[in-house]
């Protein structure tokens, strides 16, 4: 074990000492008073600050530890500049991840067939020897580019560094193509900068918040929740565009229940009103933007009346909301969205949102979108990476604006599957869940079957683990140091440390240890020249003028020199080709794309079907937390939201279990109906991440239905390569028969009684009908 208990205690003694001083009022006198049984506070002897990893937002936490070193509970860290000591349901449940009995405990090597889940326990030495022998062999035979690396989060940074040193260009994260990639490309094309994370919205000063599909409150980032609620309290207005009556929609002054897939039409109509009613920020546009005249001509005919027929929204509502934006500009916080991989037109939708933001003059202005700042946290010196071969995932060529930094997961799956442009022989999946995050898992499984080596580094035995040749158990975020977490998207940028709150359980190891030990065996130890992880972190913190020891008691170091807003008294240089905000993008034109966003209809929902929408719930993250004892207690399974009037017509009742069959004949597991008036009749909605298919997840196994497994097709965004996933249609199956409004039976008479995990051989073409834009009897 790298950090023994003794060592760890020694290391944190100073931290504890200082902490006790700092919070002496909290801990003093605990031994004297008679506290109620069962209260955690009476057993708490230490509060160790760190950062959460129950989701990707990484809020500040304080681990409350008892005298035996056991983690009692987790609280928010009051020193965190964005969350101020508050913490969401998932963060509060983090200790149940560390103490999950289903955790991966030891390195494992496969003995059965892929998918069987038969393993033998091996030592770390054996495991790493096996891994490095294989990696050497592949490098020799096929070159280092034959290894694909699938990381997620700051915990994977050390291994990513190793993979770059090894020489592969094929590093891919779902954060791009399955999440916010298209958004970042769209904003970068317009402003020269992507939005980044957390979304830099100045809700503290905003007068109007505009959400398009964004479901703050259900998609919880504590800091954003807090800023959102405080803005509401201050009296800021709210416009929510969402086919679902989300929690945010319930708080909105205007809810626009848009027909799914028609957002660009609405955005163009809003621009029309702003421009033709002279409500846009003329000074801002004249000084900082190019292409206004082209835009003005482009939106001449996209009137609210035109958009009304497409979106199903009343024209006066479109006009009224546009006027409100114009009135309250530039203090308008138009949320760029988070997960934007919807319809395959996503970069252009992001462009439309960015252009609208520019028309309101709110980019770089208080109350709008603030700018990210740099943090001087130098990287530890290491040799240069070898020059890698061309990427296999299509980032930068097939998908010209695909990120070379984050890569395109689905592009690499395709390359592995087709062995083009060259064969991919190994995947190392690190803190990712490739079968739940990347759509069309059948294809992913076929790609996995082509590999010589499939390695999974994880905390829990997710479904992908069943297919792995080698499984390496990583310590949880509560048990390890990770790379420094620098937050550039804060008005006052800061860095936060993750440090061990408890010792790693079982034989799990921190990521930095796994990467360094692997590097040693590959002869790449020059890339990891630090003596200890503390040494490494101290180097990175040196740029901020602090030491690890100094910030261990607080967990955070703020950097005062952030510049969140433009200095409008001086010229502003945007990092676009023209140096200005590009309303009209010559770059897009040069690549053969629309230089201004154009509305094109998405495929209509076939008769008898619904559009499958998905999203987040505040008590779960991705497909990651379903096995957490507490969170499972809150939401053991997901539910299918269906419109009340439609459900009544179909004779469905609230709480009953049904199955879903998608357009390709793929059947889901059973899911409970949640009948509500708060959803567009054309669509159904479920929370992502359920129906876990690993039997080693005792709580989560086969509960609810998986949206990913119903995504047998995607619309790929040609600009970014991101996978539009809201293009799948489902119908409701009850007692083996599809539910139709007439009570009739579908043309497909035979239904699979049990779900087959095999990829469908035959693509069933579903007849399409043209539907009127006014939603009347969709889905039945």
């Amino acid at each position: 074990m790298s950090i023994s208990r003794r060592e760890f205690l020694k290391r944190t003694t100073i931290a504890t000492g200082a902490l006790t001083l700092l919070s002496s009022t909290k801990l003093k006198g605990l031994q004297k008073r008679n506290y109620p049984k069962g209260w955690k506070g009476r057993m708490r002897v230490q509060e160790i600050p760190s950062i959460c990893e129950m989701c990707f937002w990484r809020c500040g936490i304080l681990g409350n530890v008892d005298k035996h070193g056991k983690l009692l509970k987790i609280e928010g860290n009051p020193a965190h500049p964005l969350t101020h000591g508050r913490l969401c349901a998932r963060g509060n449940s983090g200790h149940k991840l560390a103490y999950d009995p289903d955790r991966l405990k030891y390195p494992l090597m496969r003995v059965g067939k892929r998918g069987e889940g038969k393993f033998k326990r091996v030592s770390w030495g054996e495991a790493l020897d096996f891994l490095t022998d294989k990696l050497k062999e592949i490098k020799e035979k096929y070159g280092p580019e034959a290894v694909g690396f699938f990381p997620h989060g700051i915990q994977a940074r050390f291994f990513e560094h190793l993979m770059k040193a090894y020489g592969t260009p094929n590093i891919v994260e779902p954060a791009f193509a399955q999440c916010r990639g298209s958004r970042d490309v769209g904003y970068r094309l317009t402003f020269g900068n992507s939005v980044g994370s957390p979304e830099p919205l100045d809700f503290e000063n905003t007068k109007l918040m505009v959400f398009i599909g964004t479901h703050v409150g259900e998609n919880v980032f504590t800091g954003q929740n807090l800023a959102f609620a405080q803005a509401l309290e201050r009296g800021a207005k709210l416009i929510v565009v969402d086919p679902r009556f989300s929690v945010a929609a319930a708080k909105a002054n205007y809810w626009l229940p848009i027909k799914p897939g028609t957002d660009i039409a609405l955005l163009l109509a809003w621009m029309h009103v702003l421009i033709y009613e002279n409500l846009y920020d003329k000074n801002y546009i004249r000084k900082y933007a190019i292409g206004f005249n082209e835009l003005k001509r482009h939106v001449k005919k996209t009137t609210p009346l035109w958009a009304s027929k497409i979106t199903g929204l009343p024209a006066n509502l479109i006009t009224e909301t546009a006027r409100l934006m114009g009135k309250l500009a530039p203090e308008v916080g138009l949320h760029p969205g988070r997960h934007t991989a919807w319809y395959g037109n996503d970069t252009q939708r992001a462009r439309a949102m960015a252009i609208l933001t520019a028309l309101l003059g709110s980019y770089g202005h208080p109350g709008g979108i603030y700018l990210s700042s740099n943090i001087p946290a130098p990287h530890f010196p290491s040799p240069e990476y070898p020059k890698p071969a061309a990427r296999a995932d299509g980032a930068g060529d097939i998908y010209p604006f695909g990120s070379r930094g984050l890569g395109i997961t689905n592009g690499l799956v395709d390359a592995t599957f087709s062995e083009k442009p060259y064969p991919i022989k190994a995947w190392i999946v690190y803190s990712q869940n490739v079968l739940q995050s990347i759509p069309n898992p059948w294809k992913t499984k076929e790609a996995i079957n082509k590999l010589d080596l499939f390695v999974v580094v994880d905390v829990l035995p997710m479904e992908q683990f069943l297919y792995a040749d080698l499984v390496l158990p990583e310590a949880t975020y509560l048990e390890r140091y990770d790379d420094l977490y620098t937050v550039r998207n804060a008005k006052k940028p800061f860095a936060a440390i993750r440090q061990p709150i408890i010792d790693p359980l079982y034989e799990s190891k921190p990521g930095w240890w796994i990467a360094r030990e692997t590097a040693k065996r590959l002869g790449l130890e020059d890339y990891f020249e630090w003596d200890s992880i503390e040494d490494y972190l101290n180097f990175r913190l040196s740029g901020l003028g602090v030491t690890l020891k100094k910030i261990q008691t607080k967990g955070i170091v703020e950097y005062d020199e952030g510049k969140p807003f433009f200095d409008f008294s001086n010229p502003i240089e945007f990092k676009t080709p023209s140096g200005k905000i590009e309303l009209y993008s010559q770059l897009l034109k040069d690549y053969g794309f629309d230089p201004l966003p154009v509305y094109a209809p998405v495929e209509e929902v076939p008769k008898g079907y619904f559009r499958l929408l998905y999203g987040r719930a505040p008590v779960h993250s991705f497909a990651r937390t379903q096995n957490n004892e507490i969170l499972h207690g809150y939401m053991p399974e997901n539910q299918l939201w269906i419109n009340k009037q439609i459900a009544e017509k179909l004779g469905l009742s609230d709480g009953e279990y049904v199955r879903l069959e998608n357009q390709d004949g793929i059947l889901s597991d059973e899911i409970r109906l949640f009948i509500t008036p708060g959803i567009h009749p054309e669509s159904v909605f479920m929370v992502h991440g359920f129906d876990q298919k690993s039997p080693y997840l005792e709580l989560a196994y086969r509960k609810g239905a998986s949206d990913t497994y119903l995504m047998s097709r995607v619309e790929i965004d040609p600009l970014s390569g991101s996978t539009g996933m809201r293009v799948n249609f489902v119908r409701i199956i009850k007692n083996g028969e599809p539910v139709m409004v007439s009570g009739g039976v579908s043309v497909i008479s035979e239904f699979k009684k049990t779900r087959s995990d095999a990829r469908p051989k035959k693509h069933i073409i579903v007849p399409r009908i043209h539907q009127e834009s006014e939603a009347s009897d969709e889905g039945c």
């Binding site: 703050v216 009037q645 509500t676």
Partner: protein, 243 residues
């Protein structure tokens, strides 16, 4: 003197359950039960003319609690600061108070077979900490404080902003958890979450004729158990405070 109260701003609340999880981990509340609970979606109306509100509830620490009188052992009592507490040493888990509370704020903890409920995190208050749910609330929608202190935030919310008490014809016993919400929100709350009628139709009668003998036997047993425990403790010395 203090009079503790809580104000929940439903206009800010998003129903994210951070509060209920924080409470659960603070007090080891078993899954399936809660000292506080949240209902995130309460949508009414017809698409697209709908309204909704999240709902958060817990023990109301009422001015005139319905749970104290029916308790056969005196385990439930009220402090001068208004906090209604359960003495788990006296509680026999009979569940009468669970039936009596019009807000369903009490449950019998299956781990201990005693009644449990919110006590405004009294133990945390002694440490100058906010109740766990208030401290963690991701939207700062929960406020705790002293209604007898005119400078407190809750005083202002209750007496100046007119925070609302969840009372109706079934129960009007002065709950000290107040709510702020839009008219639409409070309408939903009144319809869906108003207090219910007490299930103890004639508590006194039940007490006299049926429960008294049972209860006294139980009290006897409790005392015997206590005595054994006490002597054991004497034998072993002082019980350490942390386990």
């Amino acid at each position: 003197m203090s009079r503790y109260a809580m104000v929940i701003d439903l206009r800010k609340c998003v129903g994210c359950d951070a509060c209920t999880v924080a409470c659960r981990t603070e007090w080891d509340v078993p899954i399936g039960h809660g000292r506080t609970w949240v209902e995130q979606y309460n949508t009414v109306g017809e698409f697209p003319n709908v309204t909704s509100t999240p709902w958060v509830a817990q023990c109301n620490h009422c001015d005139d609690p319905a749970c104290i009188e029916p308790c056969p052992t005196g385990a439930t009592f009220q402090l001068v600061n208004g906090i209604v507490k359960v003495d788990t040493d006296l509680c026999i888990g009979c569940g009468i108070c669970v039936e009596a509370c019009p807000y369903d704020a009490r449950y019998i903890n299956p781990d201990t077979n005693k009644v449990d409920k919110c006590d405004f995190c009294e133990a945390r208050l002694k440490e100058n900490l906010q109740p766990a749910c208030v401290a963690t609330c991701t939207t700062n929608a929960k406020y705790f404080g002293d209604l007898e202190d005119p400078n407190s935030h809750v005083y202002k919310l209750v007496y100046e902003q007119g925070a609302w008490r969840n009372e109706n014809d079934n129960a009007s016993i002065g709950p000290n958890v107040y709510y702020l919400g839009t008219e639409e929100q409070l309408k939903i709350v009144r319809e869906k979450f108003g207090p219910r009628k007490s299930r103890l139709a004639e508590p006194a009668k039940v007490w006299k004729n049926i429960l008294k003998p049972v209860v006294f036997t139980a009290i006897g047993a409790t005392f015997a158990g206590q005595a054994v425990a006490f002597f054991n403790q004497l034998r072993k010395g002082e019980e350490p405070i942390d386990d």
